[in-house]
């Protein structure tokens, strides 16, 4: 139990985006996250992978308390994170920190690096020598101390993201949510950031929930991978197993769509699956399995019955009828 830092059970977030009509006040909702369960173990990096609209960022925002779930629970070391709604006690805030995607937006352009790094220290470590602590934080991420007097726009994109990482570490957290931390950056600086994150994880025994759309990156960083599609998790596995034996047709399509740079990589990709169709709108989810509109292996049952997550091998689960026991068809048709 102690081993599992974060547990999500049937987590849901439905955003109301409007009403049917003036008369009919039935809300139109977007099911950004629709019944997601996962566990993050201490010291691991769980890669939460999905395309835009898959709900991966909403999960990140719920974990740090920016968004209130509409259903389900989110437990941090056994404590319900939403016991008091969005109000969260400081000790709990201290434990969970986030690094956002775009450092241009996550660092206030009118505040110096020193002011930015001092904020978490003022709140969570009052009484410490702030100047000294800021220098220590910069040192931790290999930035020279004179950076404390600079404004974010004087820094390169990579350096800004390093500052954002230092800010997340200021409270000495145990769980860090990384929301696409390198996707706004050039590939030549990505390695530096990722290696810094890996080093810090080892030094401070951090647990990472790594939100991304980049499977190649996860191959090199994640210890486990969860794939999301339209608000649901459709496959979870240990990274090694996951990349060797991808199960869900969506995962296979995703992997085979990745543009790679070498023959060796071409060889480990699943054989070419021509990606077809558009991602359905999350307002109007398809009936049955939400992937059936694009699935190359679609069966009749997929159009009617929503599959459940089932174990396919040790530590590997997938949400697909291909791996379920055949369902009995009654005279009335498919069970709905």
């Amino acid at each position: 139990m102690d081993d599992e830092v974060l547990i999500a059970q049937d987590l849901k977030k439905h955003f109301v985006i409007g009403y049917e009509s003036l008369m009919n006040r039935r809300p139109i909702t977007v099911k950004a996250v629709d019944g997601v369960s996962f566990r993050v173990r201490r010291g691991e990096t769980l890669g939460l992978v999905g395309e835009s609209g898959s709900g991966k960022s909403t999960i990140a925002y719920m974990t740090v308390g920016m968004v209130q779930p509409s259903g389900g629970t989110l437990l941090f070391r056994g404590q319900d994170l939403f016991a008091n709604g969005l109000k969260r006690a400081l000790p709990l805030r201290k434990e969970i920190q986030i690094v956002f995607q775009d450092p241009g937006s996550s660092l206030n352009p009118r505040r110096t690096i020193q002011q930015i790094l001092e904020l978490p220290l003022r709140i969570h470590a009052p009484g410490k020598d702030l100047g000294q602590e800021v220098v220590r934080l910069l040192d931790l991420v290999d930035l020279p101390p004179e950076y404390m007097h600079k404004y974010p726009q004087m820094l390169s994109g990579g350096e800004k993201q390093i500052v954002a990482i230092a800010r997340a570490l200021a409270t000495n957290p145990s769980l860090v949510i990384l929301d696409e931390p390198t996707s706004a950056l050039d590939v030549s600086v990505q390695g530096k950031i990722i290696n810094l994150l890996i080093r810090l994880q080892r030094e401070f025994d951090l647990t990472y929930l790594f939100i991304t759309h980049d499977l190649s990156l996860m191959r090199n960083v994640a210890s486990r991978v969860a794939i999301m599609y339209l608000g649901r998790i459709c496959e979870v596995a240990d990274a090694a197993e996951f990349f060797q034996f991808p199960q869900h047709p969506y995962t296979q399509m995703l992997l085979s769509s990745i543009p790679v740079v070498s023959e060796a990589e071409e060889a480990v990709k699943p054989k070419k699956i021509i990606s077809t169709g558009e991602i359905p709108s999350p307002v109007n989810l398809p009936k049955g399995c939400s992937f059936h509109t694009r699935c190359p292996q679609v069966m009749d049952i997929c159009k009617h019955v929503d599959p459940i997550l089932v174990g396919t091998s040790a530590g590997h689960t997938a949400r697909c009828h291909l791996f379920e026991q055949p369902v009995e068809v009654t005279a009335q048709g498919w069970p709905t």
């Binding site: 030549s188 990505q190 390695g191 090199n220 995703l254 558009e278």
Partner: protein
């Protein structure tokens, strides 16, 4: 290449573009030379701020002047220098000669007009014989580019507003629109970057098939080595306003020569695993005070004294494969010895 070879479709020679700003002059493009043959798919790869978009804007003559200035260079399109054309001649080139697909399809379609309303004028001015056609005939013709990009139900799409389409569909509309004029050359600036992986894969594949069928030449501008590898015949690598390497796509990926290209290749996370490389140390130099000699020497692991003194020309390593690096100069040995001394 023999002397009697036909003129290249596009030939950019020694192009320099500077920007005058508060703090001085930014020497963004510094003698860029490259060419595109008829029917060829050429990739232009580089990272943010390397000058690839500036190059494209210079070709289309859409650079903001001022602050931009073009101190020297030639852009020969079918043998004529675009830089010396009058604006009305240039309008003749844009469209039937060169057309564009931009990164963000949302921004390149006007949200208040339907697809048909935006496609109509493109069709009308794409060929002289189309000028006199009726609205109905134009509408009929407008279906073709939509069918070309494999959009279902094109008839209904003509009456749709861009907001009713998904990102992938919008980008396909943009591609259809750009190719509707049957241009000689298509410049695609990061056409898949704003899309999801599976959709990007669709769009890039479609673009590749379409230009193949229409025998259109393409310049694909992107930061993604993977996309370039899938789609192009030949690749130019750009760094800090210079072309640093050119090679047939297969050769480049099998055997990158320039230290920058190598660093870039190593930095890409691999599906085969094995951890992340550290990437390329340092950062892009300032364009106001670019490094002397080779602009990459400040970050290069193989830097030699000559790199700080002279700007390296292209050295031929094998047929069609050239790198602007003194490591591949015939005198490389001497340069290395100098470094040791």
């Amino acid at each position: 290449m023999s002397l009697s070879a036909p003129p290249r479709l596009l030939e950019v020679k020694d192009l320099s573009v500077h920007f005058k700003v508060y703090s001085g002059v930014l020497k963004v493009l510094d003698g860029v030379t490259f060419s595109v043959d008829a029917g060829e798919k050429v990739g232009l790869v580089g990272e943010t701020g390397c000058g690839k978009t500036t190059t494209m804007k210079a070709i289309l003559r859409i650079l903001p002047i001022p602050p931009a200035v073009v101190p020297r260079g030639e852009i020969l399109f079918q043998g004529e220098d675009l830089l010396r054309m009058r604006p009305d001649q240039m309008r003749q080139v844009r469209g039937p000669g060169i057309s564009m697909v931009f990164q963000d399809p949302t921004a390149s379609l006007n949200p208040v007009f339907t697809i048909g309303e935006q496609l109509g004028p493109v069709i009308r001015y794409s060929a002289p014989e189309n000028r006199g056609l009726s609205r109905r005939q134009i509408r009929q013709k407008a279906l073709i580019p939509l069918q070309d990009v494999a959009l279902a139900d094109p008839e209904r799409l003509l009456d749709a507003y861009p907001i009713q389409l998904s990102g992938g569909m919008r980008q396909r509309v943009c591609i259809g629109m750009a190719l509707a004029t049957n241009p000689e050359l298509l410049i695609a600036d990061e056409p898949g970057t704003s899309l999801d992986v599976t959709i990007q894969d669709q769009v890039i594949r479609l673009l590749g098939e379409l230009v193949e069928r229409k025998r259109t030449s393409v310049i694909l501008i992107t930061h993604s080595l993977g996309v370039v590898r899938e789609m192009t015949d030949r690749v130019y690598v750009m760094y800090a306003g210079n072309m640093v390497e050119v090679a047939p796509t297969r050769r480049l990926f099998a055997n990158p020569l320039h230290p920058y290209t190598r660093g870039l290749m190593e930095a890409v996370p691999k599906l085969t695993g094995g951890g992340m490389a550290m990437g390329i140390p340092g950062r892009l130099p300032s364009y106001q005070h670019p490094p002397s000699g080779c602009r990459f020497h400040t970050r290069c692991p193989h830097v030699m004294p000559v790199c700080r003194r002279e700007k390296p020309p292209f050295f031929q390593a094998e047929a069609g494969h050239q790198a602007a690096c003194f490591l591949y100069s015939p005198e490389a040995e001497r340069h290395r010895n100098e470094a040791q001394a």
